[in-house]
């Protein structure tokens, strides 16, 4: 550790202005501050600073995602073994999933961080940690057999068009991970929907037994086959087909607990999203004209990507509403629209992604009206 520090101090001058590697200054700074929290001290303003920083914050969010990653890997193996009618040990299932999922994670990080580093250097900024979270979220919302080049293209699209053109992390309007997902959804629909994409190996169809359909519960429900829906227990634990990280409500709730306890995500958004979904589910129950509208409202919260979206996507602080009141409205509307799109619109079997992206766009408007209220109050006070 000390020798590493000495080595870094030795090579540091090369990366500073005027050094022969000054073009890699941001990159060096990123790796250096990754290994060592810098020795910089306060110069003006408060003399002490909180020990929490962006790296720590992002690290906690990544930690909260880990349960869904691990479960997702296992479930990839589980679904594959089920589809092919084989038996396997816990480790075999997990290992297969690991081999399929890990490359997607690597591609997502390498492409995304590569672009981030390049932009940071171009702008003369330090590299922002935001992508550490986006980079793990992107693989989790993809079907397991998504070709790696697609992952790369979608990540590049999300980082450049979704984030960097607006000025980088903190300035983006849309959630970067969902931007990547939406890009793939509309650009390569045959890889993103249908019954075959959710289970590893089904796309080329070898060795799949006849009784296995690979359909996600939502696809079954949309097709009106309500009887084919898995049990609540299966939906809660997540032993169902779906995107890599979205299936297990339990793993997601563990993540939610970490996020809420450490205060790294907004409880207002998370809870109001669930409430919004529940309210829309109940409304649909009341006006039910088909079997899908009749399923118990709370089942919707376990189905598809709802829980994942509510916990990890809607709470992205940059693209969400920022005022306390605005957060409640924003979350509630996400829940509402997600279930509405899911049940009413036949073109999209899942509505969470579109609901969140839609509300990302409206978040500034919600904030605007909340703040307008504060301004009006102040004006009124001045008059009386």
């Amino acid at each position: 550790m000390k020798s590493l520090r000495r080595y870094l101090d030795k090579i540091k001058p090369h990366f500073e202005k005027g050094g022969k590697l000054e073009k890699l200054e941001s990159t060096f700074e990123a790796f250096e501050s990754f290994m060592f929290v810098p020795d910089k001290v306060t110069t003006k303003g408060t003399h002490i600073r909180d020990a929490n920083d962006m790296k720590r914050t992002m690290a906690i969010v990544v930690l909260a995602v880990v349960p869904t990653v691990l479960f997702g890997m296992w479930n990839v193996g589980y679904q594959h073994f089920m589809a092919t009618g084989q038996e396997g040990t816990l480790f075999e299932l997990f290992w297969l999933g690991f081999l399929k999922v890990f490359p997607i994670i690597v591609v997502s990080y390498v492409v995304g961080l590569g672009i981030e580093f390049a932009f940071a250097q171009y702008r003369g900024h330090e590299v922002n940690e935001g992508f550490l979270v986006s980079g793990i979220l992107i693989p989790l919302i993809l079907p397991v057999d998504t070709p790696l080049w697609m992952v790369a293209v979608a990540t590049a699209f999300a980082v450049i068009i979704g984030k960097e053109v607006f000025g980088g992390t903190g300035m983006n309007i849309l959630n970067p991970a969902l931007t990547a997902r939406a890009f793939l959804f509309f650009a390569y629909p045959s890889y993103m929907s249908g019954n075959a994409v959710w289970t590893h190996g089904m796309m080329n169809g070898e060795g799949i037994i006849d009784s296995y359909t690979g359909a996600t519960p939502l696809a079954e429900a949309a097709a009106g086959k309500i009887d084919n829906l898995p049990s609540v227990i299966e939906m809660f634990f997540g032993t169902i087909p779906g995107s890599i990280g979205e299936t297990s409500t339990l793993a997601i709730l563990i993540g939610a607990a970490i996020l809420l306890f450490t205060g790294m995500a907004s409880a207002r958004i998370m809870i109001s999203t669930f409430i919004g979904g529940l309210v829309m589910g109940l409304l649909l129950n009341v006006f039910a004209v088909n079997p899908f509208m009749e399923i118990p409202a709370w089942h919707h919260l376990l189905l598809g990507g709802f829980a994942f979206g509510a916990v990890f996507m809607a709470t992205d602080p940059v693209s969400a509403a920022q005022t306390p009141k605005g957060k409640i409205i924003y979350g509630f509307l996400i829940g509402l629209f997600a279930i509405l799109i899911r049940v009413i619109n036949p073109a999209y079997p899942e509505g969470v992604m579109l609901a969140i992206l839609l509300m990302n766009v409206f978040a500034p408007l919600i904030d605007h009206y909340v703040i307008e209220g504060n301004i009006k109050k102040r004006l009124k006070r001045a008059k009386t």
Binding site: D39, G45, R49, N128, I371
Partner: protein, 450 residues
């Protein structure tokens, strides 16, 4: 009985080195200084030069914009240095003190019959007028204004701050005298805000001619800006004056004795002080003999004021005009190996991002390390947790960043000061320099309105 106003949002940072309640009389310092940088928005014009002899109460400089306002020497002696900074800005006017202090005599007569004009004139000549400041902008009050109220915060909730009840309890008569003088300056109410958490000194509770308000809750409940916001918020075009107990005591003493006696009590606190105690000093004293043999080894940050809003001084620097404490904490010039990944039992955070929440009540030895790099805003809602006013802090800061005067006004810039944002700056994960942004906004606004 006055009602108790409860402040819910805020943060008490628990630090090592609270001053023990023993008042020591400090040996007279060799040097004293008045620092123009303590006063917001003034342009100092010197009236002395190096080598001049001055008495306690002799003007050293005045403000170009308000020439009647004099800034006077706290001691008698010889002007030995005029320290300047970048672009020849005057930083300090240093006076070497005589062994026994001679005072300028101010002819006052019977203070109960003085008119407002006479009082203002005496305060201006004696160098005590700057003790009264105004909101908005936190500049020295303008005697031509009619403030709608005067606010006095009689307790300090900042980290390691001195207990004002303890400091003021000996000076009940002077305090009342000072209040009487202040009451002649305004038709409005004088609000005396005391803490409700423990019995306040009788100096405050028995004060006459004031409205007593009680506050409870974490810092910044002692900030006068928060108190104004809760009791009688400032609207556009309104002015509120504010001052603090020790300044009032000094004013009372001036009108009783006819001299500028700059005695005040400060707390010497912080984890690096061996014997943190209260000291009786003259305002503007060098801290050199206070810290002599009283600090631990190592590189330290010497702060006149508290760790959130104070100003950095050297180890022979001077106590600021408005400051009631000197804080000494370690500098944080070190690298931390994978610091963001450690459990963090020994580090303090207002969030639960580190495991140190497992040890409640622990007092920390906090240093000046930033613990990270500056970023764009990512997290939201952090400031709201420590900012008790009915104002949207981040939105106001963003309005200042884009210099949108209308928005700043609409979002309540008249009601705030840098110090009200100090905790926002402390908790900021993006390590943004919030206080200096607010100052920029206030300066911009002031320029726009004048």
């Amino acid at each position: 009985m006055s009602k108790v106003i409860k402040i819910k949002k805020g943060l008490n940072i628990s630090m090592l080195g609270t001053a023990e309640k023993i008042i020591k009389k400090a040996n007279q310092a060799e040097y004293y200084a008045v620092k123009p940088t303590d006063f917001k928005g003034i342009r100092p014009k010197l009236v002395v030069k190096v080598g001049d002899k001055v008495k306690a109460g002799t003007p050293l400089f005045y403000d170009k914009f308000q020439p009647e306002v004099q800034f006077t020497s706290p001691v008698s002696g010889e002007v030995t240095a005029i320290n300047r900074g970048e672009r020849r800005v005057i930083l300090e006017v240093v006076v070497k003190a005589d062994a026994t202090i001679e005072y300028e005599e101010f002819q006052l007569g019977d203070s109960t019959n003085l008119s407002k004009e006479e009082i203002v004139a005496v305060l201006q000549q004696s160098g005590l007028w700057p003790a009264i400041r105004q909101r908005p902008y936190s500049t020295i009050a303008n005697p031509d204004d009619t403030p709608k109220a005067i606010f006095i915060s009689a307790f300090d909730s900042a980290p390691l701050a001195p207990d004002m009840d303890y400091v003021a309890k000996e000076y009940t008569d002077y305090f009342q005298k000072g209040i009487d003088i202040l009451s002649k300056l305004t038709e409005g109410t004088i609000h005396l805000n005391i803490n409700a958490d423990y019995p306040a000194a009788e100096t405050f509770t028995k004060a006459k001619g004031v409205q007593i308000n009680k506050f409870t809750g974490p810092h910044p409940s002692g900030n006068v800006g928060v108190q104004i916001n809760k009791i009688d918020p400032i609207n556009k075009g309104e002015i509120v004056w504010y001052t603090y107990p020790q300044e009032i005591i000094t004013i009372g003493r001036l009108f009783d004795n006819g001299i500028y006696d700059a005695t005040k009590i400060i707390a010497l606190a912080g984890s690096e002080v061996q014997n943190p105690k209260y000291y009786k000093i003259l305002n503007g004293a060098s801290i050199k003999n206070l810290i002599d043999g009283n600090v631990n080894d190592g590189e330290h940050r010497y702060i006149s004021g508290n760790v959130l809003t104070g100003s950095k001084i050297s180890d022979d620097g001077f106590v600021g005009y408005y400051d009631n404490q000197v804080t000494i904490i370690p500098e944080g010039k070190y690298y931390e190996f994978f610091g963001w990944a450690t459990p963090g039992f020994k580090k303090y955070t207002a969030s639960r991002a580190l495991l140190s929440w497992l040890i409640p009540g622990k007092k920390y030895r906090l240093d000046t390390n930033i613990h990270g790099g500056q970023r764009a805003y990512v997290m939201t809602g952090e400031y709201n947790k420590v900012f008790p006013m009915d104002i949207y802090p981040v939105q106001l800061i963003k309005a200042i960043m884009v210099e949108d005067i209308d928005k700043m006004e609409q979002l309540g810039i008249y009601e705030v000061d840098e110090e009200d944002f100090a905790l926002c700056e402390y908790v900021c994960t993006s390590k943004i320099e919030v206080q200096s942004i607010i100052r920029t906004g206030l300066d911009l606004m002031r320029k726009e309105m004048s």
